[in-house]
């Protein structure tokens, strides 16, 4: 079959991924650089006879998603950095109530109003949890338009399977850039069916259900937390995803995710052409973090260079994984700056490789 290709920006690819994952409810609020996603959902959700609401704020949007999710529907909201900050309480409630939902952050420069250039400076917020309480959310970091589409479809299955919110962590570059999407995207994919026998649908023929996160009884909340930690443990064991390049004989490894990893791939391939033994690890799940492969690799190599569009956040998780087995260096740009190949070469040359 001749594979036709459709040109789509990352934002729209995420939208189409949600549509094909049978997302029944979307609420969003305008914010650059993710506006194309909201506009795409406005059109496509209507075409599919599903619910689209432009809400009065990002806070309202996450709470609408909370309502749609507890009613048993696949639900999503999207925003960018400042808007995601407003959703943190809602995300904590979703985890506390064990409700599935997908939250998309197309990161922009910060802090504050920042700018609308790409950034990865919300890593800690997404991975460590910007809301209150001990909680985790699965965090998926696409590095291409097609991967954004695929990871969004995956996120709905993960959210339903674990009854926990999932965050898609993209950035302004990924959201805005257009890349071809293979024709397969139009094929109606098989929707995994997750029975929602916990949802609030009206207590006809059953006892009434309560969905809440306030647990005032003696030890009640602690027991609930223990149950949540069990869930997070099982996710950590089963859902780690990453991409690896040339680790077999690598003496030096770059670690980067999202769009920055593509710049690093160019560096790796270029240096491999000059017989430099350099490799790459690209985390796809930022949580659960691929610490095992990083630790094992660190034991065999000279050093690691972490490259991020931030002051160095994933850097800390890499250091935790490496446990001092090899030096870990950092090369990054902040405030919407994008690392260039030259800067990475420069940094690598300083480290005599």
């Amino acid at each position: 079959m001749m594979r036709e290709k459709i040109l789509m920006c990352g934002n729209e690819a995420i939208g189409e991924g949600a549509i094909q994952a049978n997302c029944q409810f979307y609420a969003g609020y305008p914010i650059t650089p993710q506006n194309e996603l909201t506009a795409y959902m406005a059109r496509r959700m209507y075409e599919e006879g599903r619910v689209f609401i432009q809400s009065e704020s990002e806070i309202s949007a996450i709470n609408m998603v909370f309502g749609a999710s507890l009613a048993g529907a696949r639900a999503m909201t999207s925003s960018s950095s400042p808007g995601i900050s407003l959703k943190q309480e809602g995300i904590s409630y979703l985890v506390g109530c064990e409700l599935p939902a997908v939250i998309v952050n197309i990161m922009r420069g910060g802090p504050g109003l920042g700018n609308i250039a790409p950034s990865q400076a919300d890593y800690f917020q997404a991975v460590k949890g910007g809301g209150h309480g001990d909680y985790k959310t699965i965090v998926l970091a696409p590095s291409s338009v097609e991967e954004a589409f695929n990871l969004t479809r995956l996120s709905f299955d993960l959210a339903d399977h674990y009854r926990n919110p999932v965050i898609i962590l993209g950035d302004g570059l990924l959201g805005q850039m257009m890349e071809p999407l293979p024709q397969i995207l139009n094929s109606k994919l098989k929707i995994q069916n997750y029975p929602k026998d916990w949802a609030l649908t009206g207590c006809l023929g059953r006892k009434p259900r309560i969905i809440r996160s306030l647990l005032l009884g003696e030890g009640e909340l602690e027991r609930h937390n223990q149950k949540l930690q069990e869930k997070f443990k099982s996710i950590s064991e089963k859902e780690v995803r990453f991409e690896r390049l040339y680790l077999e004989d690598a003496e030096f490894v770059l670690i980067a995710y999202g769009t920055v990893s593509r710049i690093c791939k160019a560096v790796v391939n270029n240096l491999r052409g000059k017989n430099k033994k350099i490799g790459l690890i690209r985390p796809i799940t930022l949580w659960p973090f691929p610490e095992k492969i990083i630790r094992e690799t660190a034991e065999k190599i000279e050093g690691i260079l972490v490259v991020e569009m931030s002051a160095g956040q994933m850097l800390e998780d890499v250091k935790l994984a490496v446990e001092g087995k090899c030096p870990v260096y950092f090369c990054g740009r902040m405030g919407g700056g994008i690392p260039t190949e030259e800067e990475i070469y420069e940094k690598l040359s300083q480290m005599l490789i």
């Binding site: 709470n63 609408m64 749609a68 649908t201 809440r212």
Partner: protein, 259 residues
């Protein structure tokens, strides 16, 4: 029904008397945590009576607020959730849009609805969401110890207005019902009170109408209910219901404001 006044002895007449008033089926038979004389208990019961009479218990989903009534789900005998503070209208929007055949209502206090949740209530009303909102106005924050609420009236002493609410410093009491009535998406707004038996019956009538509007897909309905908070008004329950009559009603007039 007229009772023929047979010459009845002090004990009951031969005809066994029928129970005409008891716990509604939609209400759990448990002791409630509310303070002595708090209006929440009355309002909870009225909602459950209406749900019984409209026979919608198995189709109803309630959204409890953050505040004294957060524990409403322990007292209601139907599906219930609890929203983060101020967000019940947004949660209810999500539920109703996904389950349009279900009856969805929010139960909110004045801190929840008129302070942190003002944006949600205005935009939910303005979208004309086909839901029912029960807005309990007791002029203070109860759960957190009696602070000023947006509906605290001028001169009223609270934890955070120890010398009485002062307009210059604390602004003016918020008239939610009148404000929302201006929005085209709103079909019915009424303000009632639960300070005496007559008003309790009027409150029930208003609640029933608000639920009927939803059943008939007419759009957004809200009932604002003036309710006593003896503990943080620093009064006895009997004085508190009187204070509603003499003070609160002056600023919050009762009656149908729209529809």
């Amino acid at each position: 029904m007229k009772i023929t006044n047979k010459t009845s002895s002090t004990n009951q007449t031969s005809k066994a008397l029928r129970k005409v008033f008891s716990l509604p089926a939609s209400m759990r038979d448990v002791a409630m945590h509310y303070c002595s004389g708090c209006g929440h208990g009355i309002i909870h019961r009225l909602i459950c009576e209406v749900i019984d009479e409209l026979e919608i218990r198995e189709k109803t989903i309630g959204v409890a607020p953050v505040g004294c009534a957060v524990l409403a789900y322990d007292y209601w005998n139907f599906d219930t959730t609890e929203a983060s503070h101020g967000r019940p209208p947004a949660v209810a929007t999500g539920i109703k849009r996904i389950l349009p055949e279900r009856i969805v209502f929010t139960y909110q206090g004045d801190g929840d609805l008129a302070a942190i949740g003002t944006a949600e209530i205005i935009h939910t009303a303005n979208r004309g969401e086909n839901i029912t909102v029960i807005f309990v106005n007791n002029a203070v924050y109860g759960m957190t110890g009696g602070q000023m609420a947006p509906t605290t009236i001028l001169g009223q002493k609270t934890e955070t207005t120890p010398w009485g609410r002062d307009a210059q410093r604390d602004g003016f009491p918020l008239k939610i019902s009148e404000m929302l009535a201006l929005l085209s998406g709103v079909v019915y707004v009424e303000r009632t009170a639960v300070n005496n038996a007559k008003n309790v019956l009027l409150t029930k009538k208003a609640i029933k109408k608000a639920f009927l509007n939803q059943i008939e897909n007419k759009g957004f309905s809200l009932v604002e209910i003036l309710s006593p908070c003896p503990t943080y008004w620093r009064m006895s329950p009997v004085e508190a219901v009187k204070w509603i009559e003499t003070e609160m009603v002056k600023y919050y007039p009762l009656g149908v404001i729209k529809g």
